[in-house]
Structure formats: C-alpha cells, structure tokens
Point group: C2
Chain length 357, copies 2
C-alpha cells in the first residue's frame, strides 16, 4: 500500500466563487417535509431534523459541500442566467479512486490476477513468461515494471476469447466473492458513501449521471446500476473489440484480444463526446487521468462544477497524490486553483467514507 | 429514383403468434380519458373518439399494428411470464428508410455533395479528381461506381478537419435550408409519422428508445431530439475519430479524417453492446443492414419484437426492396417469416406517411 507512505500535502481548497447562491433545493426539501407532517400545533410540531433533509449527510459542512450546493442551486434556478435545462444537466464521474477504492491496486487488476491464477492450469507456459509469472507469484514490483504493455497482455489473456455473456458472468461471480486485502470487504462495499449521496442528489435535481472511467466498460456495467444507480447505458469506459457471429443458430458477441478504445486522459472527453454527445456541466475525478475531462467540462462558459477527490486519509482509507504509481494527482492538482475546481480533502470533509462504518 | 422502377413483391406478413394478448394499454388510456371527463349524464357523455385514444392513429388496423400492440401489452403486464422491467425495455431504431426517407439518396450523402460544392473553390484539384468531379457534376452513376471507398473519401473531405462544434453548426444550418428534390420539403419533414407515433407509444410504455444507424452519429445528434424525441445520448451511429486538444487555452475536439466505427450490418449489435450495454427487446429496420440487429434482438428467448418497414408505395413515397443499390431489403426479408418479424407494408398499413399530408 504505497500510498500510505506518501507525505500528505495539505492544500487550501479553491471554492466556488462566492456565497451568492443559496441552497434553494435544501429549503424546498425541508418545506415539503413540513407539508407532509400532520397538522400539529405549536410546541408539538417537531422541527425536521437536519439529517433528514440534508442531501449530503456524509459531507462535512465545509467549502466542498457548499460549492456543490451552490452549483446545483444555480443551474436549477429557473429564470436565472445560470439556469440549465434538465436535458443538458450531464454529470460525469470517474470510477477508480472517485467512486470506489483504487488502492493498493485497481480492482480490475485484482480481478485479472485472480483470473490468471484460475486459468494457469491451462497455460503451463505462464510459469516462465512475464507478466504472467509475476502475476502468479504475487510479485507486484515486477508487474508494475511490465508497464502498460504488461497490463494489456494480462487483460487480453483474461478478458477476451469468450462471449460478452460469459464475461459478464465471470465478473459478477468474482465480485460477489472477492475481498479487498485490507478492508476484508467485497469491492462494491468499498464505494464511497459521500459520492453515492452526491450521485443521488444530482439525479434528484434532474441531472443524468454518467460514469466515465479508464476501467473496462464491461467490467463495470454488471454492477453500476445496483451500486451507484447508474444504468449500463450511462457507463463509458475502455473496451476491447467485439465481433458479432452466429453460433449454432444463435447470435453472440465474441470478445477479441484487441484494444478498441482507451477511455483515459485525453480519451475521456473523446469518450464523452462519442457516447453522450453532450458536453457535461459537472465532472468528478481524482487523478491526472481526469484532467482533460475536467477541462472539457468546466472551460465552456457558464456555471460549471469540477471536483477532485483528494486522498488524504491514511487511517480510514489511503493518502496519496503526486508520488503514487497510479491514480496520481499532480497536474490536475496544480490546475485546480486556476480553474476553481473543488478539491475535496477526504480526511476533513468526509464524515463517513463507507456505508459499513 | 431507381426504387420506383422495381417490381413490387407483395408478401404475406408474418404476425405475432396469436391474439392471446389484448391491448390493455389502450383500454387503460381510454379509461383515464373517461375518468377525466366532467360528470355528465347519459346522452351528453361524449364517447371518447377512437382517434383520441389510439396510440398509433396513422397505422391501419391491420396485422402490423396488432402485433405491436400485442407485444407492448405482453411485456408491460406485471406478474406475467413475459413481463420485462422498464429498465430493460430497450428499443432500437434504424434511421435511413426506417424513420425518414432515404431515396433517391441518403440525406447525409446529399449533405456531403452540397458541402463539396461549397468547398470546391478552395479545392480546384477536385475538378479533375474522382469522386469529387462526379459530385460537382451531379453524376450519380459515377458516384455510385466509386463505391464505399468513394463515399469514405467524400465524407472525410466534408466531415473532418474541423471541431465538433463547427460541424454541428454546419449540419444544423444545412438541414434548416436544404430541400428534398422530389417532395420540396426539408429533410426532417420527411420523417415518417407512423414511426414517430411508435417511438412515442413505446416511451409512454416505459421503453427507452435508441437510434442505431449506419449514418454519422454527429450528423444525427443535432436534430434527433427535436424530430424523434431521442436525445443525443441515445443515438448510436458511425463515426470518425476525434482528438482532444487545447487551442488558445480553450479545449476542443477536432474531427480527424479517419474512420472510427461503422455502425452497420454486424456492426449494429456491436454498437448496441458498446453504447447501450443491454440487449434490446425490440428492433426496427428496413434493410439488410438491420439483419444482425434484428437477430441480436429477437433471438434471445422471451417475447421480442422485430419489425421491417417494407417500402411498397411508389406513389406516396418509394417502392424498393431486393434490387436497389442501397437500402436493400433482401436477406432480411427472407429471414422475416422464419423469425416471425413483422413486415410493414407501407402502402397498405400506413394511413399517413408524413405529418404534412
């Protein structure tokens, strides 16, 4: 868990321009709760508890939360210059490190390593071939040294040469049983509660929420609806090519060992344009892989929201930014202040990180 | 207009299995209309006019319409074995020849030819280079002979080397002003009223409607929401590659002269899987380019709907199937009966074709 050894940078967070926006939505929610109460008189009328009407209860009442509330209030206020019609309220979320834990390794890599072990009996040659030998030996250092080329080899050997249906079943079965080495929880339990609240809050305000991840699109789609409320058709990700074929009179899509699209870095705005066809007005990430998505989203005129999750909590989760081998937050962190992106200090601003806490 | 010279095949249409389904939805709609009426007594109570409650008023009350109504009733009947949850009610529609007129040439080709003319002053070499010379001369025969290679050249010369924003504006401006050579109407006016009713009827029954077209994705997205009620994020189509770049401190997506994806034939199920990530339960097409989409949709167990629009009306629109140079309906027509796909006889089954009639 290299992230835990990284010295933390405490950075002053840039916030949305001012307090000129009020959280109209929160007040409206409070009013509707009041309206639904039975008509009790004076002292018997219970005050609606703050926790009941707060759309983001796991967020500390700090600058990040206020910036989110201000942004939503601004773009949903009909008649104002900042108003954005519901159809154009597109919000895009990175996945690894933004919606769920990405350390000590991407979940999809943990999946690939488990698949290498499961398939090893059919591939005796892997005992002497990198990166498979390293995968089988749990030799993370050699694996990391194999770089992107090594990762592609692992993915092709474990994600391809089967139908889309078969792959979906393998992913679903694995996620139901695999556990994170530190938290001893299933990986989907390691989704961030504050971000799930945020997804729901945006949807309640007419937003359409999309995942835009460097991870595999078919690795995510089997579970994003259940975990994040994001249906498969709103998931954008990296992919390998598939081929349509009839086999024994039945149509199938066969997964080929060939890269189709890499949805990371400059690929993210490309993927957004290809899959969504609209420019987002809010984007959420945690690493340099999200830099171009945040640029594309926020540098278009109008009130926009860019947000970075800064992993600053080595005790409850992990602490890493500029000096990690993956999920690195460096250029995007430098770009945050000039672009007025919100940087969430996980340690201070997330009261709870996981639902099981 | 070669299609008009093609002898018509009058083909017996296969229909959905039986009359065991009733149109519960229509009846429910009728009841709700009744419930909304003021409480009038006996003879003063107006009978709800059939046209008011019929969700498909431009469709003749024949086999095709009944098959559609039966299908929707079946998959929306809670508790029945055929019930499909709303989230899985995915319907995919081809565009050219299925939702709007594709003869005497694809609208996008008409657009490309007009663009060649507009750009010709900057390209004097086009006067002596095919397929540009043919495009400038209106020599459709030579154009057709240039085949797919020629088409790609035309598209690259007219659709690329600009930003996505610039292209969107060019398309929008062109569609507002260009007119169909026979009907003297704008191209979006040449969308089929029965199919627009069908799109709305499916959405009213919890379906999510997608366009899955061989046409250019960015050629369609600027107008599909207004014309079909299908938002950009539910349009799948062919595409060229784009590149993200910062220019003068502003992010942009630049369109490259390189094919990215061809969403036709076996590419349609591939595109559906990539963009939608769910298998449709209903698919609508009109040509062999839709064959694999209909196979992928209907050959998956459960009650499914496959439908082909058969262009049989040379008077009101066009008549063509097996012997046309594009939009050919041949293999898919043969596959219709064994797969129980609905074949719509446009001449007999569409009471109105266009809204302006």
């Amino acid at each position: 868990m290299p992230g835990e050894r990284i010295p933390m940078r405490v950075k002053k967070r840039p916030v949305m321009s001012s307090n000129r926006f009020h959280s109209r939505v929160s007040r409206r929610a409070a009013l509707s709760v009041l309206a639904a109460l039975p008509a009790l008189s004076g002292p018997l009328l219970p005050l609606p508890a703050r926790a009941q009407t707060d759309p983001l209860p796991s967020w500390d009442d700090g600058a990040a939360k206020q910036a989110i509330l201000n942004f939503v209030a601004a773009v949903t206020r009909e008649g104002s210059a900042d108003f954005v019609p519901p159809a154009e309220r597109i919000a895009t979320f990175d996945n690894d490190g933004t919606l769920w834990v990405e350390h000590p390794m991407y979940t999809q890599l943990a999946f690939a390593l488990d698949r290498v072990k499961a398939l090893a009996p059919m591939h005796p040659e892997w005992r002497d071939t990198q990166p498979f030998k390293a995968a089988l030996d749990g030799d993370v250092k050699t694996l990391a040294e194999s770089g992107e080329h090594g990762m592609v080899e692992l993915v092709m050997a474990t994600h391809a040469e089967m139908t889309t249906e078969e792959f979906q079943k393998i992913v679903t079965d694995w996620l139901a049983n695999a556990h994170h080495p530190r938290f001893k929880r299933t990986y989907t339990e390691l989704s961030y509660l504050p971000m799930i609240e945020l997804l729901g809050y945006l949807r309640a305000n007419g937003f359409k929420t999309f995942i835009v991840s460097g991870g595999g699109i078919e690795f995510m789609r089997p579970w994003t609806e259940q975990v994040y409320g994001v249906p498969p058709e709103q998931v954008v990700g990296s992919s390998i090519k598939t081929k349509f074929q009839m086999r024994d009179g039945r149509p199938e899509l066969f997964r080929l060992a060939e890269v189709n699209f890499v949805d990371d870095n400059a690929g993210k705005p490309v993927g957004i344009n290809e899959f969504v066809g609209r420019r987002p007005i809010a984007a959420f990430g945690n690493s340099d892989g999200d830099l171009q998505m945040l640029q594309w989203t926020t540098m278009s005129g109008g009130v926009r929201l860019g947000l970075l999750v800064h992993h600053t909590d080595a005790v409850r989760e992990y602490a890493y930014d500029r000096n990690t081998s993956f999920g690195r937050l460096d250029k995007a962190l430098d770009a945050a202040a000039p672009n007025r992106w919100v940087v969430v200090d996980m340690k201070r601003e997330w009261k709870r990180i996981f639902a099981f806490e």
